[in-house]
């Protein structure tokens, strides 16, 4: 494989693997910026992946080629509702946010597998027929070098992921809602004094994280695995969590980190074909994102600044 062939293969694969991580990590940015830790991203992704596949299987005949897109929307809605559990427990009931997130992860996979057994009578769903189509971007695909890398046979969902990341940056840094979101995560009491409804803001943030993680899970299932089973989402949620920390709780940073982790995944899968890389045991590529996250947290890659009030329930009147 020549170097150029390699680039033409690895760049699109990177973007394809990164897209679900981008959606989910951006969701995590919203939740954590408001001060609510969301370890439950994995469970929310599982729910999204399950609903995405289920809807796709049930309604492929009704909606035809629109099916995968509507499936994304339905997965988004269901995961948003599912994330309410985390919101109620950790915001209103003052549960430990980490414990609540762990429960979300367990509950997500349990409900999904329970339903799969109930509906299909086995541990795994059938393969879906309607996948998210790949398409060539007109004109742009003819640009030499860049065209084949970025604009040939891309998933629409990948483009959407990048748009969402840019939009999230705009919302968080350029709108009044974003300002409120950040202030609630930094100093909820000060925000409360200024008349911002801390509870409401946090609820909205957690539900956004659920919605985006739902899309992320569904995108992963509908583009990569094409069915749902116990190992469909296997660490992608935690990788998204890693991406958001690695990206320093910033939407664009999270997107960059997600792209890098996507690259690591693409590399791990295609390693056997690439000179030099094929000599590296794949285990190093598999653990790379996690090791990097630990290094990032340890401050070897620039200090990461978490929102100040993260992890603490806000109790009115308590100093």
């Amino acid at each position: 494989m020549s170097f150029l062939d390699l680039l033409y293969f690895i760049v699109p694969a990177t973007i394809a693997y990164a897209a679900p991580l981008i959606f989910t990590a951006i969701g995590g940015v919203f939740s954590e910026r408001s001060g609510v830790v969301n370890i439950g991203l994995e469970g929310l992704m599982v729910m999204g992946a399950f609903i995405g596949i289920l809807f796709n299987l049930l309604y492929a005949d009704t909606f035809g080629s629109w099916t995968p897109w509507i499936a994304l929307l339905v997965a988004m809605a269901v995961s948003a509702v599912f994330s309410l559990l985390h919101a109620v427990a950790s915001i209103s009931f003052r549960a430990d946010q980490v414990v609540s997130g762990v429960a979300i992860n367990m509950l997500g996979i349990a409900i999904a597998l329970f339903s799969v057994k109930m509906i299909f009578g086995k541990g795994q769903t059938d393969l879906i027929q309607k996948k998210i189509p790949r398409f060539d971007v007109p004109i742009l695909q003819d640009i030499p070098f860049i065209g084949p890398m970025f604009f040939k046979s891309v998933y629409g969902s990948s483009i959407l992921a990048i748009v969402v990341a840019l939009f999230a940056w705009f919302v968080i840094y350029k709108t009044p809602f974003g300002l409120r979101l950040r202030s609630v995560g930094e100093h909820p009491m000060a925000a409360d004094t200024m008349g911002i409804n801390v509870t409401k803001t946090r609820y909205i943030a957690v539900v956004i994280s659920g919605a985006l993680a739902g899309i992320g899970g569904a995108v992963y299932a509908i583009t990569t695995t094409n069915d749902f089973g116990h190992a469909t989402i296997n660490g992608q949620g935690f990788m998204a969590l890693a991406a958001l920390i690695f990206g320093k709780w910033h939407p664009i940073g999270a997107m960059g980190a997600a792209l890098f982790f996507g690259f690591a995944q693409a590399l791990a899968i295609s390693a056997s074909k690439i000179p030099y890389i094929q000599d590296v045991p794949t285990v190093y590529l598999h653990i790379l994102p996690y090791v990097l996250t630990i290094l990032a947290l340890a401050g070897f890659i620039g200090r990461a600044n978490a929102p100040k009030a993260i992890g603490q329930p806000y109790i009115k009147g308590q100093r």
Binding site: F93, V99, S100, V102, A103, N105, A110, L113, F114, I294
Partner: protein
């Protein structure tokens, strides 16, 4: 209502609520909830065989619960029990397979290897927390995945490309003909004794030693402990190491007792994560962990009877466990409601 009563009432109410919501889920999905729970009960206590298997299942849960609870007492949240358990499992299986020694050396050596591997996996987040103030939750989650992938790769290397390594030597086995015969040839092994011994060890460390006192003090208030002249950083590392050692021993239960080897894993075992629930239910006390582990071990093993006897998918029990965690974590609201009910009673 006194705090002590609340401490016991909150977990009990959480269990009842969890089972109740589980029943609603079964009922809404068109299953017979009562039959489901009867099948569960029979799955746990139906025969001396199933009782033996249930007790076997409880052993790793006790150790996973101890691991989480011990870290909790020092104010640390060890989500890495899963990874520490996996490396412990591998270490025990490897030592059990690779060496030929008399049993009285081999078995302790394999157990020690598991504890050491788990301790090492806890050491890293411990040091990072103590020296660089890196939050242990994220680090331990990442360490879980590193453990999973690393152990899978090690299995391939050690077994020359196979998906599992050879069985352990008899000299390293926890298997017991006596316990097995006693329970109608179940796979019950001596692991339960080790688990119970570790419960005593944890109680002894926490209640009877100076180190234990310091560990608890750091958990209550690290600033005050620092001011009182305790070495907070040393205690953080020590706590994670001990916690990891408990988790590693949990892996040894699977390696030396239940399975006798280790195979490549497609995902996590879940025992480590359930350990969080066990510790929460047990209010992070050694004795409480026994109760928590008994509940979860029973539910997990008994659930296997549900598909055959009542047609209910096994996963219903995972749903119930997750719900119980939710309710225990939301203990605040249960306390509020209990207090309110109490006041009404007093007013009457």
């Amino acid at each position: 209502m006194s705090n002590r009563v609340l401490k016991i009432l909150v977990p009990i109410i959480s269990i009842i609520l969890g089972l109740f919501v589980g029943a609603i889920v079964m009922w809404m999905s068109g299953y017979d909830a009562i039959n489901g729970y009867i099948a569960l009960w029979h799955g746990i206590f139906g025969s001396s065989y199933s009782i033996g298997e249930t007790i076997r299942q409880i052993s790793p849960y006790i150790l996973a619960g101890l691991a989480v609870a011990f870290a909790f007492r020092t104010g640390l949240f060890n989500i890495g029990v899963e990874g520490q358990l996996i490396v412990g499992w591998f270490a025990a299986a490897y030592v059990g397979m690779a060496f030929e020694l008399p049993a009285f050396i081999h078995l302790p050596l394999a157990l020690l290897a598991a504890a050491a591997a788990g301790a090492l996996w806890g050491l890293i987040p411990g040091i990072l927390k103590a020296t660089l103030r890196v939050h242990e939750v994220i680090v331990t989650i990442m360490m879980n995945y590193i453990a999973l992938h690393t152990v899978n790769a090690l299995i391939t290397t050690v077994s020359d490309g196979s998906y599992k390594i050879d069985r352990i030597q008899k000299t390293a086995s926890l298997r017991s003909e006596f316990l097995s015969n006693l329970t109608d040839f179940s796979t019950l092994h001596y692991g339960i004794l080790i688990a119970l011994l570790m419960v005593v060890v944890m109680w002894f460390i926490l209640e009877k030693t100076r180190t234990g006192y310091e560990l608890k003090a750091v958990g209550f208030n690290d600033h005050a402990s620092q001011y009182a002249g305790m070495n907070v950083n040393k205690n953080i590392v020590l706590s994670m190491v001990i916690s990891g050692a408990f988790a590693g021993l949990g892996g040894a239960m699977e390696a030396l007792g239940t399975f006798g080897n280790i195979s490549k894993m497609g995902g996590f075992t879940g025992i480590g994560f359930d350990g969080i629930a066990v510790a929460l239910l047990g209010a992070n006390t050694p004795l409480g962990v026994i109760f928590g582990a008994t509940l979860f071990g029973s539910l997990k093993y008994g659930a296997n009877n549900m598909p055959n006897a009542a047609g209910v998918p096994v996963e219903i029990v995972s749903i119930v466990i997750a719900l119980i965690i939710f309710f225990v974590a939301s203990g605040y609201i249960i306390r509020v409601l209990l207090n309110r009910m109490n006041k009404k009673k007093e007013a009457k």
